[in-house]
Amino acid sequence: MRVFPIWKSTVTPRLRASAVRFLPVLFLALLAGCAGEFPQSTIDPRTDFADIIHSLYVSVFWWTMLILAVVWVALTVTLLRFRAKPGDGKPKQIRGHMGLEIGWTVGPALIVVAIAIPTIQAVFATQRPISEDAMVVDVTGHRFWWEFHYPEQGVTTANELWLPVDRAITLRLSSTDVIHSFWVPMLGGKRDLNPTVTVREGEEPKVNYLYFTPRETGLYMGQCAEFCGESHAFMAMRVNVVSDAEFDAWTAGWLESRGAAIPAAPAIEGGATEEAGQEAEEAGVTLQAAASMSAVDLDPLAVQGRDIFLNQATCGACHAVQGTAAQGRLAPDLTQFGLRTSLASGIMENTPENVAAWIIDPWRFKPGANMPGTQYAMDSRIVSGTPFAWPATGLDDEQVRAVAAYLLSLK
Amino acid sequence: MAQAVAASAHDAHDPHATNTGVSNFKLGFWVFLASECLFFGTLISTYMVYKGSALEGPYPAELFDIIKTTISTTVLLFSSLAMVLALHYVHEARKNLAILWLFAVIAMGGTFLVMEYFSYIKYIGYGLTIGSSTFGSSYFVLTGTHKAHVAVGMIWMAILAWRLHKGKIPPSKSDQVEVAGLYWHFVDIIWIVIFTLVYLIP
């Protein structure tokens, strides 16, 4: 049987820094390396929520160690002292002792109370919003990727959640298919993403919540923690906690991308044509933005890739790239894809080789993914539970590299 | 030692004596009914959880004809009376009367089922099916399970009537009929609970 390297491609050359925006990403990548030996540690809290859990854990841990010591010592002493020796007679046939029974009932009961009180306090403390000003992010689970929508900012992204440091965060959790669970251990405990139950008119569908305030910048690792099917193991995510300024720049960049109209037709040199302007207007964007965007210095391979992405493979049926005709909502939003450190929900580093490999053969990395490869189609006969269907993209290696270049150019 | 043997309630000559004085069959059946309580309890709880939150109609208020259902319920209740009478006559070794009353049980149970069958037809006509809403699913599975229990009971009574006819159930073996009676009364009581929670309480 062939053994596939899943997360890492066998060849991972360093990304070349080419745009100003890339430096924070590099910085973060370095920081991630210093995030500690156990990047999904549950005992290395980095938020208020994780702190509450951790301090409760430490106290319960010591209580349990005490009980364990008592039991093991009692057991050991008993076994050593009363082991059978030659010449032993019949031991005294003691049947019970009410005092002892009371003692070892009341004692553990007191310990239980000592543990239960702070526990219940923590239950309430962790299930209320931290502040009214909390920033809300809607987290929607899919098989097998994460959708993040920021209602306040009007931004939608996928798989890498950007958050501003020292800001109270409220995550609203739900799923479109099966039960998933959002778990970034260093940011706190997990909460399930339940499939949204349709309710009657006028009623609010129920969602779940997580509340926390991240206090350290960094790139945090997490993954789905409720078995959701074939590629449950490959539904990871990263949380990028950044400064306020970087966060605002990131959201602004997303919105700016949307504001810019890249014509669906082949790229036009110089300013926007009237035609392009009309199209842009139809897309609800401004001419000015259209002009500025088309002047960006795009690598010819990326330009070719954009054309393939939008027109030939029509990836936009599922994926969205703000500022283009690609407005699909069935798959991860790929706007600013080049800023992501990972792809395919956190299972591979975001390199041209990996992006290309993914496009050619997504099931090699994520069996059951709702995405066709270059050589195979995807529909419900092949991927259980998918309501989608898409033919093989039929791209050759050259074209795939072009698309990868285009995607990585999105910043 | 002889005294010990004499005092034994379980010696080789009476293998059927029990600690409680109740036969194994009867006691075991009570225990089985306890498990049935949990079984129906789960079905009923699910119905209550989903009650009133169906997304689309028809809704209970539009569908249920309380009068008709009260009539069918009364018929079922009277069938329990018939069961008591049947058992009484088995004890008295008057097998023809016992058979008659068993037939009454079957007839009344059958009437209940027929009436309920027509209600089902009516509901389906209104658009309530097993898959049309959570109300539909939980209603039909709950009441359908109950009706299956009634049907099994009717078959059981028919077999008892036949065995009575063949003279195979003297008063000393009346336990069989008594246990069948327990089952029938249980099915009845479950219906009273269902009737109250599903039909009477809005």
């Binding site: 049987m1 030996e37 156990f38 999904q40 549950t42 409760l56 854990y57 209580w63 349990t64 009980i67 364990l68 039991v71 057991l75 008993t78 076994l79 009363f82 059978a84 020796k85 031991p91 019970g96 002792h97 002892l100 029974e101 070892w104 553990p108 239980v112 543990i115 526990t119 219940i120 923590a122 209320r128 298919d177 039960i179 251990p185 405990g189 339940n194 129920k206 779940n208 919540y209 690792m221 923690a225 099917g229 074939e230 193991a233 059951g368 259980s384 | 010990a4 379980h10 010696d11 293998p15 600690n19 075991g28 079984f39 789960t42 989903y50 097993i130 898959g131 959570t134 699913s137 599975v141």
Partner: protein, 612 residues
């Protein structure tokens, strides 16, 4: 194998020769034979589940490995869990209920011998049924808890989940029937003078467990019906687009599931409560308290189910209630542990293999119980849930608790069953390789869980740095596998060549040791009168009892006749349920006809020979 040994053992006992041959086993209604069949079947499934575990551990040796496909892996862990819980731990406990309880209370068989046989055959056929999926590459794959909506036809379109829900429904019938049988037996068939508070603890725990069985299994039966109907007949119980709530499945499953884990552990608690006094030469310390603690655990165990659902968003009030109830259950459990230690204290302790397993249980179960306390603290479990920390916890309590107790029972009661002692040297090898292998497998999982490795994952990122813990666990798993082989070798070897055991090789106190090893098929020639909890330890009473129980009667007591209706009914039930998979209503109805037929034939067949 066992048949031949029993043959030889009986040869010295005179008159009646027990029938031998396959047909006599197929039609047996003798609780002792049924027990042996349960034990053998459960051991077979133990190896099936064990191979599944080893394959899992091989796949998890290195990060980012792909020895086989993710889909196969998902089937393996689903079947490992389902097999170990339903086809190993439960039936093995039932094997002990079957063999030991009638002997401990002075009964000749259980209340419903044919029903007893039915339970066994249904379990066996149900177990085979649920494994049939392997042969078509469609073994169940949605985990042993089968959460909605993953189990819906939308996300699990193949036959995998159909095998699962149908197989489990079939097996459930066996458990309910068994529960009815044992409650009736224990309430109604005790020897004169055997008051409830004089019964051995193992019988008491069988009693409590039987109540849990008859009340918890109906709940999962309904849940499986809902799931089956959703899949086959289009109901919408768990369909969120129609207002159905997938979380309802979790509630129903865990309302069954939590009593289920007490069903798994209480029998073992009962076993060690009988063994520890024997090898300490002291009566059980605090007998009434240990009984009440067991009853309390069974009772409170009904009120804690949502501690499996702390991450589903029940809200702080519901969460707090379940936190409190779960922590309260720790108290009677702790009380029992202290009582067991107090039994040994002041005694004279013999370290037979049976006793070693009891001590191992005390040491190891405590660890599992304490990680359970951590999980009970809901905020902590928000980190630990669905991670390897939980996997460590439940293996510590199920393997270190339930299984070790049953292995203690094996070494203890094997001489009664076969008339021979299990080899003590092999036994000690079995014990120590179990302790080493088991702890090496599951202790590191506390760490991989704490460091963020979720469970039910096909592989894991190298970045997590949990490679070492996984490798230790894999090595441990193979050592644990070796311990199972040693056990089987010991069983095989000792059944043929073990040292002869008399009626009471351990000088134990309870009634099962008052009759020959192995017992006559009728157990007791006449029923003794009981005057205390330890009939064989009390001077005077011991002699009176033995005078009655070791008799060779002139005419043997009449026993129930063998019957082939249990196996036929079990087969027809399995087929009838299996036909549900077709979804064609008239096929299903046709399938029910043999069930009716077999039931009727059984009902008309007399249980005893003519005239009794």
């Amino acid at each position: 194998m066992s048949t031949a040994t029993i043959e030889q053992a009986h040869a010295g006992h005179g008159a009646h020769t027990e029938p031998t041959g396959l047909w006599s086993w197929i039609t047996t209604v003798d609780h002792k034979r049924i027990a042996i069949m349960y034990f053998l079947a459960a051991t077979f499934f133990f190896f099936v589940g064990g191979v599944e575990a080893l394959l899992i551990r091989i796949q998890l040796w290195n990060p980012e490995q792909a020895i086989f496909s993710a889909e196969l892996y998902n089937q393996l862990f689903t079947m490992h869990g389902t097999t170990m819980v339903f086809l190993v731990a439960m039936p093995m406990a039932v094997a002990f209920f079957n063999y030991v309880v009638p002997l401990q209370i002075g009964a000749r068989d259980v209340a419903f011998p044919r029903l007893n046989a039915l339970s066994f055959w249904i379990f066996l056929f149900g177990g085979i049924y649920i494994n049939l999926g392997w042969f078509i590459g469609a073994a169940p794959h949605a985990s042993w808890v089968g959460y909605a909506t993953l189990t819906s036809t939308a996300y699990s379109p193949g036959l995998n989940t159909d095998f699962w829900f149908i197989g489990l429904s079939i097996i459930g019938i066996a458990s309910i029937a068994g529960g009815v049988n044992f409650i009736t037996t224990i309430v109604n068939m005790r020897a004169p003078g055997m008051k409830m508070m004089r019964m051995p603890l193992f019988t008491w725990m069988t009693f409590v467990t039987s109540f849990l069985l008859i009340t918890a299994i109906p709940v999962i039966a309904v849940a499986l019906i809902f799931l089956g109907f959703d899949r086959t007949f289009g109901t919408v119980f768990f369909d969120p687009s129609m207002g159905g709530d997938p979380v309802l499945w979790q509630h129903l499953f865990w309302i069954f599931g939590h009593p289920e884990v007490y069903i798994l552990i209480l029998p073992s608690f009962g076993v060690i409560s009988d063994i520890i006094p024997t090898f300490s030469k002291k009566p059980l310390f605090g007998y009434p308290i240990v009984v009440y603690a067991g009853i309390l655990i069974g009772f409170i165990g009904w009120g804690v189910w949502s501690h499996h659902m702390f991450t589903t968003g029940l809200g702080p009030i519901a969460d707090s209630f379940f936190v409190a109830a779960t922590m309260i259950i720790a108290i009677p459990t702790g009380v029992k542990i202290f009582n067991w230690i107090a039994t040994m204290w002041g005694g004279t302790i013999r370290f037979t293999t049976a006793m070693l397993f009891c001590i191992g249980l005390l040491a190891v179960f405590t660890v599992g119980g304490l990680s359970g306390i951590m999980h009970a603290a809901a905020p902590i479990t928000l980190q630990q849930h669905d991670s390897y920390f939980v996997v460590a916890h439940f293996h510590y309590v199920i393997v270190g608790g339930a299984m070790m107790g049953l292995w203690a029972g094996l070494y203890y009661w094997f001489p009664k069953v076969t008339g021979r002692l299990l080899n003590e040297t092999l036994g000690k090898w079995h014990f120590w390789t179990t302790m080493v292998g088991f702890n090496l497998t599951f202790f590191p999982m506390h760490f991989s869980g704490l460091y963020g490795m979720p469970r039910r994952i096909y592989t894991y990122s190298a970045d997590l740095n949990v490679d070492l813990f996984n490798q230790l666990a894999t090595i441990g798993a193979f050592i644990f596998g070796i311990s199972a082989l040693i056990m089987v070798w010991n069983l095989w070897h000792s059944a043929r060549k073990g040292d002869t055991a008399g009626a009471n090789p351990w000088e134990a106190a309870t009634l099962e040791w008052s009759i020959p090893s192995p017992p006559h098929h009728y157990n007791f020639p006449e029923l003794p009168v009981i005057r205390s909890r330890e009939p064989l330890w009390n001077d005077g009473e011991r002699e009176e009892v033995l005078a009655v129980t070791m008799l060779e009667p002139e005419t043997e007591p009449v026993m129930p006749v063998p019957s082939y209706w249990p196996i036929l009914l079990a087969l027809s039930i399995t087929v009838a349920w299996g036909l549900v998979m077709t979804g064609i209503w008239w096929v299903i109805v046709l399938g029910i006809l043999p069930v009716f037929f077999c039931t009727l034939m059984w009902a008309f067949e007399p249980a005893f020979p003519e005239g009794h």
